[in-house]
């Protein structure tokens, strides 16, 4: 403990010209020098550089500084850097206070005089607080060597395999009956035209068979409590009404189901049908059947003929209508959110006639149509029975639901340009005499091999017309795309057999649930917000929770896999070190003045405070007690305490009030 008179060192950073251009550094420095308790005030071109940090360390040693104020960039940027500097210089790292004179001063104010005067104020406020800082102790807790991965698409699969491969336990929780996600629905992948199933299926099998991975399909995370390193997870395993230990996946039940071929299949994007008991797709993992409780006659009406067909035909007796949802609970140290995305609902753009005309398809529907495993066996045929025909004139409309403020999606979905090129190529390959054109705004072919692929497709005869169609309508039984070729300024009315809407990627509808569960934030595009867009793209604001794949924003498969590996690596750092520092800036109760009203207990969002008893001169009185591992240091309890008896370390009333005074009084 350092109870000596404060000796403050103030360091004003030029940040090259970033600060120095608008803020008069010397004026700020000399002002700082005049403030009470300031022993040293210096300026330097880059305080975060090695020589800059050395300056602080030397002053600590030579001048006996015991509080440090760094006036530079945002504490969100370099607070940790300078805390480390203090520690290396032999000071408690929490004796640091920063004044943000870059992001919130030099970069936002043009007038040099104003910026300088504000910088002085901010430095003065920091000095006022620094004087009253207290040393804090960082405590360590053990990390539960396991990870929860929410979502069993390619991102979740990859992260699971990596972590499990490193020898740690993984729980994969997948909402649908099978892992595989959206990638399993794709036919080929751009730009290499690999068969999507061929590269994905082995990984799906690996996930199921890996000894370190526990796969919980058809399951949902219900509750997450605890904190980094020690999350307590509760998962609901929804009833499949099929005993998966008995089911061999033979499929007779599905053939016999009275509703066979009558329920739109999710996997087939609605263009294929399934029964009430179903396997989502042939390569599904686990290869176990599931009864859809929303369509099953027996489950919805309590009656299915004399006896449900599935029961009748399952010789192993695997059908179990009595099955209930089960709950499993386990502890993990880290959580990876790999929940993926939703495909944009094309009916939200009614001008393109998706709901009105049979031959207006979404790209995902076309994906199933061209797939050898799809309902037509890979033949591009529209219509049924006698009306069936092979479309020859095909138009793609780009950016449906992307780059479109009218539907709330201002972002680019990043994959549509390339999957359109791929699908156009596949159509040309399967229907060589077809005419394919693509109505586009811009073609973004930025990835490895993308531009080459786009060139190839154009050489194959796919026409790119720059113009956003205004409407798709029907004339004389034919679809007409109305657009303007913006390069020639010519209005077009293009008669076609098939219109493909290149729909974008959207945040999942259940995004909110996960946010509530894990205390995540959303960015303005409504995808989950990463801790930093550049330097912490897989981390979130919640320690121990990481993002992978399209949950964080639209991306293609290689980017998804790369991020999944990044998330796995982040989780592994935690698991491998086995220990994590918990918040030092937590709440602390003054038991002598606590009146035991319990407001803080009610307020704490983490259940970190409970009432305990103390002996006050023979009287047993109840007072609040803080569980240090659970406290996250938000301070909501502090503002709710009437007697000021609970305080947040580093953000105590006695530290904030002088800041307020200085900002009010200093001119």
């Amino acid at each position: 403990m350092n109870n000596n008179k404060p000796k403050i060192g103030v360091y004003v950073c030029h940040c090259g010209v970033n600060i120095a251009k608008t803020v008069d550094i010397e004026a700020v420095r000399s002002y700082a020098e005049s403030l009470p308790y300031v022993k040293v005030a210096r300026n330097y071109s880059y305080m975060c550089s090695d020589p800059g940090q050395l300056l602080i360390k030397e002053d600590i040693a030579e001048e006996g500084l015991n509080r440090i104020v760094v006036a530079s960039c945002s504490p969100r940027m370099h607070e940790l850097t300078f805390r480390k500097t203090l520690a290396e210089g032999g000071l408690n790292p929490y004796y640091l206070e920063m004044a943000n004179i870059r992001e919130q001063c030099s970069w936002v104010h043009e007038d040099s005089e104003e910026a300088t005067s504000k910088a002085r104020k901010l430095v003065a406020a920091a000095v006022a607080k620094a004087r009253l800082l207290e040393p804090l102790e960082e405590k360590e807790v053990e990390v539960e060597p396991a990870t929860l991965i929410i979502g069993g698409g390619i991102a979740g699969i990859q992260a699971a395999l990596d972590i499990a491969g490193a020898g740690f336990k993984v729980y994969v929780v997948e909402k649908t009956p099978s892992v595989g996600g959206k990638m399993s629905q794709l036919d080929k992948t751009f730009p290499t035209l690999d068969c999507s199933a061929c590269i994905l299926t082995p990984k799906m099998v690996d996930v199921a068979s890996h000894p370190n991975i526990e796969l919980l399909t058809y399951s949902q995370v219900e509750d997450v409590q605890g904190y980094v390193g020690n999350f307590e997870v509760k998962v609901r395993k929804k009833a499949r009404y099929v005993d998966i230990d008995k089911c061999t996946g033979c499929g007779i039940c599905a053939q016999e189901c009275r509703l066979a071929g009558r329920i739109p299949s999710e996997y087939e994007a609605g263009i294929g049908k399934r029964g009430a008991i179903y396997l989502p797709f042939p390569q599904a993992v686990p290869a176990k059947f599931t009864i859809d409780p929303e369509s099953c006659l027996y489950l919805t009406r309590g009656k299915c003929g004399k006896e449900p067909k599935c029961v009748e035909h399952c010789s192993l007796g695997a059908i179990d209508f009595e099955q209930q949802d089960e709950f499993v609970e386990f502890k993990v140290g880290a959580i990876i959110v790999a929940t993926g995305y939703d495909v944009f609902d094309a009916s939200r753009k009614p001008e393109y006639g998706y709901q009105d005309y049979d031959n207006v398809l979404t790209s995902l529907e076309l994906e199933r149509l061209v797939s050898a495993s799809g309902p037509t066996g890979g033949e591009i045929v529209l219509g049924k029975g006698e009306e069936a025909f092979v479309p020859k004139e095909v138009a793609f409309i780009q950016c449906v639901g992307s780059r479109d403020a009218s539907c709330g999606n201002e972002y680019c979905s990043r994959v549509c340009c390339m999957y359109t090129a791929k699908l156009a190529h596949l159509i040309k390959e399967k229907v060589p005499d077809s005419n394919v054109r693509v109505y586009y705004m811009d073609v973004r072919a930025f990835g490895k091999g993308f531009e080459e692929f786009y060139d190839r497709v154009r050489r194959e005869g796919v026409r790119y017309i720059r113009g956003n169609p205004s409407e798709v309508f029907k004339r004389d039984g034919k679809l007409v795309v109305k657009a303007e070729d913006t390069l020639t300024a010519k209005p077009l009315e293009d008669e076609v057999d098939m219109v493909v809407l290149s729909v974008g990627l959207e945040p999942r509808k259940d995004t909110r649930e996960i946010i509530d569960l894990l205390r995540l934030s959303q960015s303005s595009d409504r995808f989950y917000l990463e801790a930093h867009p550049k330097l912490a793209p897989v981390d979130t604001a919640t320690d121990g929770v990481y993002l992978a794949g399209c949950a964080q924003g639209p991306k293609d498969i290689p980017d998804t896999v790369a991020q999944a590996k990044g998330a796995a690596s982040s989780a592994l750092i935690l698991l491998a070190s086995g220990k994590v520092n918990i918040q030092a800036q937590i709440s602390v109760v003054n038991e002598a003045t606590c009146r035991g009203c319990g407001y803080c207990v009610e307020i704490c969002p983490y259940g970190a405070i409970e009432m305990g008893e103390v002996n006050r001169f023979g009287h047993i009185v109840s007072v609040a007690k803080v569980n240090e591992a659970l406290c996250k240091g938000c301070g909501a309890c502090v503002a709710g305490c009437f007697s000021g008896s609970i305080q947040q370390k580093s953000f105590k009333d006695r530290q904030i009030l002088p800041q307020i005074a200085v900002l009010g009084v200093v001119k």
Partner: protein, 143 residues
Amino acid sequence: MSEQYEPNIVAFLCNWCSYAGADLAGTSRVHYTSNLNVIRVMCSGRVNPLFAVNALQQGADGVLVSGCHPGDCHYMEGNYYARRRFALMRELLEFIGVEPERFNMSWVSASEGAKWKDVVEEVVEKARKVGPFDQFRRNKINW
């Protein structure tokens, strides 16, 4: 009221949304008025409404508290508590004769650098309109 009157605003920003949003405004080189000074706290829930009273008393002409949008609080609930507390304090201050223009609260997310600028300018403009705070300012002359 002198012509050169420039309001002085003290703002309390939560670390995760609003402070980050204000940083983003900086990173994006959005320019705004320099009348507002920020005190960083971890959560808007930490901000005791009495801080606002204290700020007015000690020289601020207006106060701003900014946190995450409802539902986005990094600590889940802090901004809800802040909202309730500030609703009460606002009524009280208004009732005692403090112009409501001096007492502001906003939700600014980490991605709303542009909104931050708008909020700052609105708060400063409102304070400018109602003039210097003189209701219960500490008067140094009495010292």
